[in-house]
């Protein structure tokens, strides 16, 4: 027992065992809430990065047409580029679509192929730099399909299409995390309501005496709320104490496979702060819930 929360001996409502289970229940709930919230926060952080990747620009690649006559092949390629541009510029979420001019393309390739005239004659793939409108949520997969149907030899950057898909999944997970936190909060509130009701029943006599000697509802509610807050804080700190090392372990394991596809599981300073505040949030919830429960019960007295 944490001595700081030991009840004062002369409180009008006697200490009792009706809520002794509360700290342990709250410890479990806070543990779950911290893990769920950490998951939501970590996924949220990664999501921002991913969205930036997808949101900025998309690259469209057009395979050059081949033919016996290089000049007609080049003309065909130009036609394909124009077609793709037309499709792209038709999309509402496309802010701009600009083909990379050949000289720039050659310049990009120079470090690998050298600056010979030979390079100029190679059938190089054409690239279109597509800028996505701010805060648009393009369906890149559908765009890729439309392009492929309209223009032969066109493709969208694979990685971005894949990311767009996984963003949906991540958003779902993040939402799930928040939902779990909400459910845990609701369960905590229900537990506090139950413990308070039980306490009201056990202490009915004492409450009646306090009421009849002129105690305001506020005063009586405070007696209960103080105890509930103490128990909740106690349990909340235990839950946090267990959740933190668990998170660090997960963090460490995730860091180990940073080379993989997934970005590292990482929490910012503010994320850690938010997690540390979960027990305080639980205590606040208990305070409000207990007060409301007691006052509702007291309103039945004259």
């Amino acid at each position: 027992m944490i001595p700081f929360f030991a009840p004062r001996a002369n409180l009008p409502i006697s200490a009792d065992s009706t809520g002794r289970y509360l700290p342990w229940l709250v410890a479990m709930m806070v543990f779950l809430a911290v893990l769920a919230l950490a998951g939501a926060l970590a996924v949220g952080g990664v999501l921002d990065e991913w969205r930036r990747d997808v949101a900025g620009t998309v690259t469209v690649q057009i395979v050059p047409a081949t033919g016996v006559d290089p000049a007609s092949a080049r003309a065909e390629t130009d036609r394909r580029v124009a077609q793709a541009l037309a499709v792209l510029r038709d999309r509402p979420f496309v802010a701009s679509a600009e083909p990379l001019e050949e000289p720039r393309l050659v310049a990009l390739l120079e470090p690998w192929l050298g600056a010979s005239d030979l390079v100029r004659d190679l059938p190089l793939p054409r690239l279109i730099d597509v800028r996505i409108a701010a805060d648009a949520r393009p369906d890149l997969k559908a765009l890729g399909e439309t392009l492929r149907e309209a223009v032969p030899g066109v493709s969208l950057d694979d990685h971005q299409v894949w990311l767009a898909g996984i963003i949906d999944l991540a958003e779902g997970l993040s939402l799930l995390g928040v939902l779990v936190v909400g459910l845990v909060a609701a369960a905590t509130a229900a537990t506090v309501v139950h413990a308070t009701r039980l306490g009201l029943e056990v202490h009915r006599e004492q409450i009646e005496v306090l009421h009849l000697i002129g105690a305001h509802d506020r005063y009586i509610a405070q007696q209960f709320a103080a105890r509930m807050v103490g128990w909740t804080l106690e349990g909340g700190l235990i839950g946090l104490l267990v959740a933190m090392p668990t998170l660090m372990l997960v963090s460490w394991l995730a860091a180990d496979m940073e080379q993989g596809l997934l970005p590292p599981f990482s929490l910012s300073f503010w994320d850690w702060m938010a997690l540390a505040l979960v027990p305080a949030g639980a205590a606040l919830l208990a305070l409000v819930t207990a007060r409301m429960t007691v006052r509702r019960a007291l309103r039945r007295m004259v």
Binding site: N10, P12, S14, E208, L212, G214, A215, M301, V302
Partner: protein
């Protein structure tokens, strides 16, 4: 304090009190008598605001409490001192903390509490039991703790429900002297009792509950064996062994919180 055509029924049952009409002047002293089950406790519970009447008017301190919101009642309750039939002490609290309760509820400072409460407990003869818990006290001692709690706030009205119900006559006389003492300090007193000897000895007017829930106001019952009883008249000071004849100055001086 006045009742006008007050009726009270529990649930859909018959009226336990019917057309009860009376008025208690400030500083008066009344016995409430009547056979068991005639509604004495019910009447007193209306007086100490534990329930509201089914009909009629109840005025306390010049205000119609039947028309008041429940949030406005606590300040009025603090001007009432109640000795319950079964004491209703809080078993987990010491005698001191029990008596201190009305002060704590009213937000009186801890230093005032530590000064006045032991003084009053000493005055009711419990100097050696200040830190005792109710379960370790005798019936008479508990009764005195309950009375100390009822008077610590210097109530304007003292209501006592059978305060002598389970003690012998000697203690009963002592306790009645205590109430008479308070009454002399200006407190309006109403005491429900079965004890006819007491009613005869302390010649105060009576409120008598007859059958059918009707109340009649009667003059003091004459003491047929005047002078024969031991202990002297109610006015005689010093009749209470272990209880000082003069209440502590702090009790006399205190204004309600």
């Amino acid at each position: 304090m006045r009742f006008e055509n007050v009726g009270l029924r529990y649930g859909n049952g018959p009226e336990v009190l019917q057309d009860v009409t009376f008025a208690l002047g400030p500083g008066s002293f009344h016995f409430l008598t009547g056979a068991s089950g005639t509604g004495k406790t019910s009447l007193l519970s209306l007086l100490y605001l534990a329930r509201r009447p089914s009909r009629g008017l109840i005025g306390i301190f010049g205000r119609d409490i039947t028309a008041m919101k429940r949030d406005d009642l606590p300040p009025i309750r603090r001007r009432l001192g109640v000795v319950f039939q079964d004491f209703r002490l809080l078993d987990h609290l010491s005698a001191l903390d029990n008596v201190a309760l009305p002060l704590r509820v009213a937000g009186v400072s801890e230093s005032d509490i530590q000064k006045h409460v032991p003084e009053l407990l000493t005055w009711v003869g419990l100097a050696d039991h200040i830190n005792a818990k109710p379960p370790t006290l005798s019936g008479g001692q508990k009764q005195r703790v309950a009375i100390a709690r009822a008077v610590i706030n210097r109530p304007d009205v003292l209501v006592a429900d059978e305060p002598t119900g389970n003690v012998d006559d000697r203690i009963a006389f002592r306790l009645l002297h205590l109430f008479a003492e308070l009454n002399r300090l200006g407190t309006t007193v109403v005491i429900a009792t079965h004890n006819e000897t007491l009613v005869r000895r302390f010649r105060f007017p009576r409120l008598n509950l007859a059958g059918g829930g009707r109340l009649e106001v009667l003059p003091p019952l004459a003491d047929v064996e005047e002078g024969a009883a031991e202990g002297g008249s109610p006015a005689a000071p010093g009749a209470m062994a272990g209880v000082g004849p003069v209440p502590p100055a702090s009790l006399a001086a205190r204004s309600d919180g």
